[in-house]
């Protein structure tokens, strides 16, 4: 029987990567710390661990390289060598090479990365006690340029705005370094202005980097492919005899030190989301089993000890679930932090003055929710600046400070997260909104509307009131997209506004997509879950509340004078044995995208928090169902997708109806009747 080494190898590579990081950050501190034994020991142990593990997998190159490195480190440790800059440099390059060899081995390409050039350098150090001359010079000396390698001089001068475009110099230089060996790098400071003229967000520096590589000049240029328009770039082949500068790779190394420092500070670990999701699943299961145990035991004669033990189990299980869910949580600041810049740029562009106040940046939300918040929030902030905040003159006239304030706020409220985008601008112009909505046929002239309802019109598709269509906002897309984005996260959005005082958009989101607050409803013998965020109310209908239209083809539920389409969930889902007479059941009023529906179910069982499970994973998509969950008794229940339910219901009123109305459009006029 063959033992599968793959699994163990994977562990080796993971550990090797950690050891390499330790080694690198240790080496970067080596000079400062002198022959501080603790540092040296750490580096030595890292090298030693890699060597030992590599030996058991017979990764010969890794063993050879780490062995020599270990010897050098050992001499350093016993003070037979002094930690000079040159020596550190050699060790750093050796650890870089080691990383390459490890990576290549991981890819199954052992032997593809040569180590024969770095080994003699290390051995020279061992034999000579001190590197007799700069080893980098050694390597770059003309005879040492093998296999058609050429030395290129790369002159790279980013333009002033370089950082504003979000470019990272360090990444570029490092990528360049990966293509060959950096012989020298010179920072050009000629553009650097006097200190009082210096804009800290400008890039004044340029670099001249000499690289020895077997690659073509074009490949070096390709490194800068994405910043082409934003820099001056020259790549010239040099005579291979040029003598290298002594301060080899100075700039790159400084950058590296900074990067290594950042790494050391971080006390977090990277875990694949797959593993975390697995953990969440498992804990969800544990919570269910725990509830089942409680149910089963309740029937037995309880002793105080048993009762006590069950309580402890229950509490620990809950806490465990909270802790595990917390792993996926990130502070919302990760998305908030990009907006001060947006506000700054937009106000400059529009000739307005505003600042952004951020509150509650530490509020935590599920990673997947946060990732999808960027776009809607960007839209909202743009709108606030473009439509909300007035020009400084207008503000002065209105007796407000010239600088407007946009507040981005996040906080927890009863198991949900609320995000607010507020401004102290002119507020919504309800008269204009009404007029506009009327012109677009969104409302009727005689339609009575509350202020809140008028405000809500800004979320209607295609609605825009900007007098001038700017390139900032007001293209007629925006608020409806924002609303859709929020709803796809199972969230809800609303707007409050006071004329002259400003407006406030409130987004309420669930903490996570993995858990959902739902109402469990009964249909026949089955239980379904309806997301609580889409539910407005539940009503036991009176006979007069239910009307038929179009000769019985459509059913309407009249809620306080307002007719809503009635969906019989049991017919839509084909559930047998459900309540037929609406008065025996409950109408759950659901809302999606501003449209309200009455959904008839047998009974409402209660409110509960459910863990959302995928059905597609083992089966396929089920229409009007967004997922499944496992109930306290271990049974599976489906979670209704309200948005899709509304779509399906408007397409066909019920399965039987499908066959009858050949045109299939029968439901469409019905909607107009009742809207």
């Amino acid at each position: 029987m063959q033992i599968d080494l793959k699994k163990f190898q994977e562990t080796f590579f993971e550990e090797a990567a950690e050891h390499l990081s330790t080694m690198e950050s240790g080496l970067l501190h080596l000079e400062e710390s002198g022959s501080d034994n603790e540092f040296l020991n750490t580096i030595f142990r890292a090298a030693h661990s890699i060597k030992g593990a590599a030996g058991s997998f017979d990764f010969k190159e890794i063993v050879r390289l780490t062995h020599v490195m270990e010897n050098v480190l050992d001499k350093l440790r016993s003070n037979l060598l002094a930690p000079t800059a040159d020596l550190t440099q050699i060790l750093l390059r050796a650890s870089d090479r080691l990383r390459e060899v490890v990576d290549a081995t991981h890819r199954g390409e052992a032997g593809s990365v040569p180590i024969d050039d770095i080994l003699p350098e290390l051995e020279a150090v061992l034999n000579g006690g001190q590197p007799s001359e700069a080893p980098v010079a050694d390597a770059a000396a003309p005879p040492g340029v093998p296999r058609g390698e050429v030395v290129y001089a790369v002159v790279f001068e980013p333009e002033l705005e370089f950082f504003r475009q979000g470019q990272d110099l360090f990444l570029l230089l490092r990528e360049l370094g990966e293509l060959g060996e950096i012989l020298s790098s010179e920072c050009q400071r000629s553009r650097l202005p006097a200190l009082d003229e210096l804009d800290p967000e400008h890039c004044y520096l340029g670099w001249k980097v000499r690289v020895r590589t077997a690659r073509a000049a074009q490949e070096l240029r390709d490194v800068f492919m994405f910043v082409e328009g934003a820099c001056r770039l020259e790549v010239t082949a040099e005579a291979v005899t040029a003598a290298p500068e002594a301060s080899a790779a100075g700039a790159v190394r400084t950058e590296r030190r900074a990067a290594a420092d950042r790494r050391v500070e971080s006390t977090s670990i990277r875990v694949s989301t797959e593993k975390v999701d697995g953990l969440i699943n498992l804990v969800g299961e544990l919570v269910i089993s725990q509830a089942m145990v409680n149910q089963a035991v309740a029937a037995l004669a309880m002793t105080p000890e048993l009762e006590e033990a069950l309580m402890v189990v229950q509490r620990s299980t809950r806490e465990l679930q909270e802790q595990v869910m917390a792993i996926r949580m990130l502070p919302i600041g990760t998305v908030f932090n990009r907006f001060p810049r947006l506000v700054h740029d937009l106000t400059v562009k529009l000739g307005k003055r505003a600042r952004l106040d951020i509150e509650g940046a530490e509020t935590e939300l599920d990673k997947s929710v946060i990732e999808q918040l960027g776009d809607p929030l960007t839209h909202l902030i743009r709108n606030s600046i473009d439509h909300g905040i007035e020009d400084p003159e207008q503000r002065a006239l209105a007796g407000k400070p010239e600088e407007g304030v946009i507040t981005l706020r996040a906080y927890h409220e009863g198991g949900t997260v609320v995000i607010e985008v507020a401004d102290d601008g002119k507020g919504l112009d309800r008269e204009r909104i009404r007029a506009k909505a009327l012109a677009q046929g969104l409302i009727r002239a005689d339609q009575p509307m509350t202020d809140e309802e008028v405000n809500g019109l800004i979320f209607a598709a295609g609605f825009s009131t900007a007098a001038v269509v700017s390139d900032v906002s007001g293209r007629g897309v925006g608020m409806d997209v924002v609303k859709r984005n929020v709803e796809s996260l199972n969230g809800a959005i609303s707007v409050h506004s006071t004329p002259g005082k400003g407006s406030r958009i409130r987004i309420r989101l669930p903490l996570t997509l993995a858990i959902l607050d739902g109402l469990s409803v009964q249909l026949g013998r089955d239980t379904f879950i309806v997301p609580l965020l889409s539910i407005r109310q539940s009503v036991r209908p009176e006979p007069s509340d239910i009307k038929t239209v179009l000769g019985g083809r459509g059913e309407v539920f009249v809620l306080r004078g307002e007719p809503l389409p009635l969906v019989r969930l049991s017919r839509l889902f084909g559930v047998a044995g459900a309540v037929e007479d609406p008065q025996q059941g409950i109408v759950v009023v659901t809302e999606n995208d501003g449209h309200r529906f009455g959904v008839l179910v047998d009974d409402v069982l209660g409110q509960l928090q459910v863990v959302v499970k995928s059905i597609e994973r083992n089966y396929r998509k089920v229409e009007a169902v967004m997922g499944a969950t496992i109930l306290g008794d271990g049974r599976v229940a489906f979670i209704v997708d309200v948005a899709e339910l509304h779509r399906v219901a408007t397409r066909r009123k019920s399965p039987e109806e499908d066959g009858r109305s050949a045109d299939g459009a029968a439901a469409a006029p019905l909607q107009e009747e009742v809207a």
Binding site: I288, D526, F573, N618, R620, V622, E623, V636, P655
Partner: protein, 162 residues
């Protein structure tokens, strides 16, 4: 085309292969044991809205939602009430996990090359593409199913038993 799965059986591993055998309406079937994750007694499932009749519903398999197919109905056989012998065979189909309801499980059968016969031509009305072959064991005749094809995309029931 029908004999492709049979070649698979013969080319893989020169030795024998093991099949879990079960009964459906007096007939014996087998699925490769390596594809079987576990065997469960029948327990209630939650019906899936608007699913084909052979898809009985979904069950909770330690926190995972797993669809359960009734193989009798899938093969167009007569419906049978579930009793204490009714068993759900949980199989792996690619990355998916699926439960199959069968009348009862029999045993694990070693199938040698020599015991294996290509599926006979059963006429145009029978889709033999879901078969890996037919195994003889003393006087038993066991139909070996190609589980990937049986539980491929949910589609119209396969006419196997006439």
């Amino acid at each position: 085309m029908n004999d492709i799965p049979v070649q698979d059986v013969r080319s893989e591993d020169e030795g024998r292969r093991q099949f879990l055998t079960f009964t459906l309406g007096g007939e014996e079937y087998g699925v490769e044991i390596l594809r079987v994750q576990e065997i469960k007694g029948f327990s209630a499932v939650t019906p899936i809205p608007n699913a084909p009749d052979y898809v009985k519903g979904v069950m909770n398999l330690r926190g995972t939602v797993v669809p359960v197919f009734d193989l009798r109905l899938k093969f167009g056989m007569e419906r049978k009430d579930y009793d204490r012998f009714t068993v759900i065979v949980v199989v792996n189909v690619g990355a998916r996990v699926v439960g199959l309801i069968v009348d009862s499980v029999s045993d694990v059968l070693d199938v040698e090359h020599d015991d294996l016969e290509t599926s006979p031509d059963l006429g145009a009305s029978v889709d033999t593409s879901i078969l890996q072959g037919i195994a003889r064991n003393n006087d038993r005749l066991i139909t070996l199913l190609d589980i990937d094809r049986v539980v491929g995309e949910p589609r119209a029931s396969v006419e196997l038993a006439a």
